[in-house]
Symmetry: C2
Subunit: 239 residues, 2 copies
């Protein structure tokens, strides 16, 4: 890990431990240089990341003040795998694969020189129910491009897809785009989420890409309304 990331971690840990409580100021950039034996720019990078993640607010002429930061809330926030979150929050969760299609196809947008073209691409299609504290809360429908991941063992889906991609295959996830909407529950939703007729679900559609910019996974998550929560931190930027 690089120096800036190490300083970031150390400062974050001290913020969590209230060595630097909410409302207090972190050491100045010059002090960070001496404390950690780093250059100012390196310290500034650590501070910039803390600001980006919503832990501090930098104030010119004054310093970096620790601001209130709400922890991750289940189940959608940033791009963290379901299992990582569950472990972080010490929640009992279960993963039931109720549909597994190793040889399906999916229409995929292809960016050719002249506009967008739709082509049928081979995918592995997986449907899962996420059970939280004994109650079914989320349906996940995953479609994984075979051109990037030739096969996805059923066992990987029952455990953690992210762990399989990153630890087993050595792929590195880069970024994802997400869209959240609301929709009336379908028959499939009602069956697996145990909800009544006329109820609504939160639908989260996302496309995940690797660090080399290859999009390889499309996911549709359907959440029970009473269990759904999404938290976000945004900065006002004038550009």
């Amino acid at each position: 890990m690089n120096k800036a990331a190490l300083v970031y971690q150390d400062l974050l840990q001290k913020i969590d431990a209230e060595v630097y409580p909410i409302g207090s100021y972190l050491p100045s950039e010059h002090q960070l240089c001496e404390l950690y034996g780093i250059s100012r720019e390196t310290g500034r990078k650590a501070l910039a990341t803390l600001a980006e993640d919503g832990y501090i607010q930098k104030i010119r002429g004054k310093g970096s003040i620790v601001i209130e930061h709400r922890q991750y809330e289940f189940p959608v926030s940033g791009i963290v795998s379901y299992k990582e979150l569950a472990e972080k929050l010490h929640i009992k969760t279960q993963n039931i694969v109720y549909d597994y299609q190793p040889d399906a196809t999916l229409p995929v947008a292809d960016f050719t020189s002249l506009g967008i073209e739709l082509t049928e691409a081979p995918v592995t299609a997986i449907k899962r129910v996420r059970v939280i504290d004994g109650e079914p809360a989320i349906i996940d429908k995953d479609y994984i491009l075979k051109s990037v991941v030739p096969e996805v063992p059923k066992q990987a889906a029952e455990d953690s897809l992210y762990a399989y991609f990153e630890n087993q295959l050595g792929l590195t996830i880069g970024y994802a785009t997400k869209e959240i909407t609301m929709a009336p529950a379908t028959d499939e939703d009602r069956e697996h989420l145990a909800i009544s007729k006329g109820a609504y679900v939160a639908v989260v559609r996302s496309v995940t890409s690797l660090t080399d910019a290859r999009a390889f996974q499309y996911t549709e998550s359907r959440h029970r309304a009473d269990r759904f929560s999404f938290r976000d931190f945004a900065r006002r930027t004038k550009k």
Copy 2:
């Protein structure tokens, strides 16, 4: 504006104009130095911001590739004022203030040395209906701390609160935390949003702070389910 921001804008404009289409590479960092007469670190800052905002993906050893970027979708994304979004998307919108309380109070969390204390703080309370293309779509309930903004004219609420804070008062908005949940529609929702019994609404609660880290505004937005959409771009970070 600083050099990095100027380069950011110029590159972004060229991405939009497809001088650098999706899938192509931007000029290398060394080339940016010559093109814009800047140092490498300055160019890297522009690129880092483009990556943060989801326009490019940097690949070590290769370059910065332009990736697909979905435009803002109405109505919640980042921290942009309602009016700014409406103008950007050329949407006909109307702003009806149906409740205006210049002298209300709100329980506010106070972070003392020993835990959190709730105190009643004087606020201006405003309730508005956002009408999009002739249809009521959102209810906004705003509570603005009088200790920061002594008074909010009704006219400002009918126009744009952000414009009033930033242009009239010279305040600079820094950041906001948001939480999205779903809830059954209340009588108030049904009355102003013209929806039927048993329907659901998307609830967006947010706290907005200034750049000096003073939280000064609490907002609860209630969206008609069929009009609600939220888009997000997230990077996978290993820390």
